[in-house]
Amino acid sequence: MKVVPLLKRIWPLMPVLASLAFILALLLIFGADPATAFQALWQGAFGSRDRLLGTLAFWIPLALCAIGLMLTFTAGLWNIGVEGQLILGSIGASWVALNLKGQPAWVLIPLELLAAMAAGALWAALSALLKTRGKVHEIFSGLALTNLAIILTNYLISGPWQPPEGGSFRGTQPFQEAALLPRLFDSRFSPLSLVLMSIALVIVAVLLGNTTWGLKLKALGRNSRSAFLLGVSSEREAVIAMMACGALAGLGGAVRVLSWFDSLRQSISGGIGFLALLVVMLSAYRMFWVPFVAFFFSAVLQGSITLQLRTQLHSSLGGILTGVLVLLTLLFGDYNHLRRLRKESRPDE
């Protein structure tokens, strides 16, 4: 009889073990030495000062997106367009960086960040309005807007923002030094971005936990009919939640161009927005877990780059690990849910 509580306690670890086993199987099939592979994964994430800083630097925009998504998920919205909102943020920041020449950093950086947030919010607002006014589901509008953002980036890089030395499809010319976020030890990690992310984390946590607005979002997400009868205006709150998420994703986009890179690049996002959706799902939609899960994701993905260098295996292995983990957790992670289902299917007991 004591078995059940123990099983219940270690249950959430099952998906972790199962997904590691899945990766192990893949490694063996592809003839890689698992020990080498997992070592590479670890060292790629934490093996040296620079690598740790790289993991931190990748973590920040991912966490920013995930924090924003907490708002939209709470309101019951599937903001898949967060990827595009991040890209628009990158474009917004780049626009300021490329057009305001000769200004000091303390002028440039706030303007860049503001432009990025505004651009992200604008892209999110389009999605929100298409939903509330046009009844187009946010999944489709978000996806279309993401692809449009990618095309816009490519257009800018190969057109108006082309470097003077000629047509490179890879990126704009590097921004002036004053436009970039100050970075630690020449790495890609900017302490300022960590500060901004922490502030965002606290603000959103407070908004969700301690304000009437957060409560309204929660009500809307759980039962929009009852929320309406209790006086919550669904359109207004949905649009604001989407725009706030877009602003945070935009901020993440600014961090991508101003500290991870030094210019606007072709695949500026690296799929961070989509990953952030997985982060929030794996966090079971709880704010407390979001930064930790995001950090775990960042470590796995950074590690898998080193993995590719050392074993010649494709770096998507990191994505597979996180994807399988999220899938198994979604399906089997909730012990109580599974027990309830078992009970329902055997009503005689």
Binding site: G134, N154, H314
Partner: protein
């Protein structure tokens, strides 16, 4: 006359539309039974990769297509199990599988990128191929095109002209009423989710074995998402869905053709087309202002216009069914 630019463009549109038609038909069957399988994009990537790799290593196209169908069915089975049996959110599972499919296909197919491989060839229908204009567009086509057309017709017949088709639509429309008429809703939903997944698998393989031959990371380039939107635009009917597939196929092949033949036309404008079109058609079929526009028409035309434009999803789409 049979080799003018226009005829070549039309023939290419028909071919580009074929995999979309197959995928749209598969997902339409699934959604008609009441299940949303959002994992289309991931499934198509996995299937495109599997189809090519299997055909490349075995040299058999048939095995390639079968393997792709199996992979699609397997992904669909996960969605069915998660949503019907475990009663989880269909959208969440579908989305995770989409991302997972992208990564998994990139990893598993890493040793097979950019290789020349076997491909489905053209098949000219005797006599008909010599028809002016129609011949080269419809009767001297890739075999995939014929399959797509036959599939759309068969699915339409199955849905609207057979007893099992009535059961299928009933399960997605009003499961409790279908149950009262003797249908096993759970079994039907499993069946059509898996069947729909297999068809999407075939669609993925037909892309890598017939249209853009070979494999590369992200090979199908958002095709799955576009198919999902076409299912809605098509009003959950295979025939209208096929029409939608042609419209989207046109944007794709026009982009290619113009890039090759016309100077000074921005590629960017053409790349945006499918996505702008996606938002546009969804607005058209679901927003309220269509009804408002309809009110400006004379009353005699109003009903027909609305029937033509607006669509209603199966009423129990995404709704769980549990008998008491």
């Amino acid at each position: 006359m049979n080799d003018t630019l226009l005829v070549r463009i039309l023939a290419s549109i028909a071919l580009q539309a074929a995999p979309l038609m197959i995928a749209v038909t598969g997902e339409t069957l699934t959604e008609r039974a009441g299940v949303v399988n959002l994992s289309l994009d991931g499934k198509m990537l996995m299937a495109a990769m599997t189809g090519f790799v299997v055909a490349y290593t075995t040299g058999s196209l048939i095995l390639g297509f079968l393997a792709a169908a199996l992979v699609g069915a397997l992904f669909a089975l996960i969605v069915a199990f998660g949503s019907i049996t475990l009663k989880h959110n269909q959208v969440a599972i579908g989305f995770v599988l989409t991302l997972l499919g992208a990564d998994l296909s990139a990893f598993l197919g890493q040793n097979f990128t950019r290789l020349p491989g076997p491909s489905v060839g053209k098949f000219a229908v005797p006599y008909l191929k010599d028809l002016p204009v129609l011949g080269p567009i419809f009767f001297n086509q890739n075999a995939i095109f014929y399959f797509a057309i036959l599939l759309v017709a068969a699915a339409w017949w199955w849905l609207f002209r057979t007893q099992p088709g009535l059961h299928l639509r009933g399960a997605g429309e009003r499961p409790e009423a279908a149950f009262a008429r003797g249908a096993s809703v759970t079994r039907l939903r499993y069946l059509y989710t898996v069947l729909g997944g297999a068809l999407v698998g075939v669609a993925g393989a037909s892309y890598s074995l017939g249209i853009k031959i070979g494999w590369s990371e992200g090979h199908t380039a958002g095709l799955g998402w576009i198919a999902l939107a076409i299912v809605i635009f098509g009003g959950w009917s295979p025939a209208r869905g096929a029409l939608g597939a042609v419209v989207f196929g046109a944007t794709k092949s026009l982009a290619t053709v113009f890039q090759q033949n016309v100077q000074g036309v921005s590629v960017v404008a053409f790349n945006t087309l499918p996505w702008l079109l996606m938002i546009g058609v969804l607005l058209l079929v679901s927003s309220d202002w269509v009804a408002r526009v309809a009110n400006l028409l004379p009353p005699r035309l109003r009903g027909g216009f609305l029937r033509l434009v607006q669509v209603t999803p199966p009423r129990a789409l995404g709704v769980e069914f549990g008998q008491e």
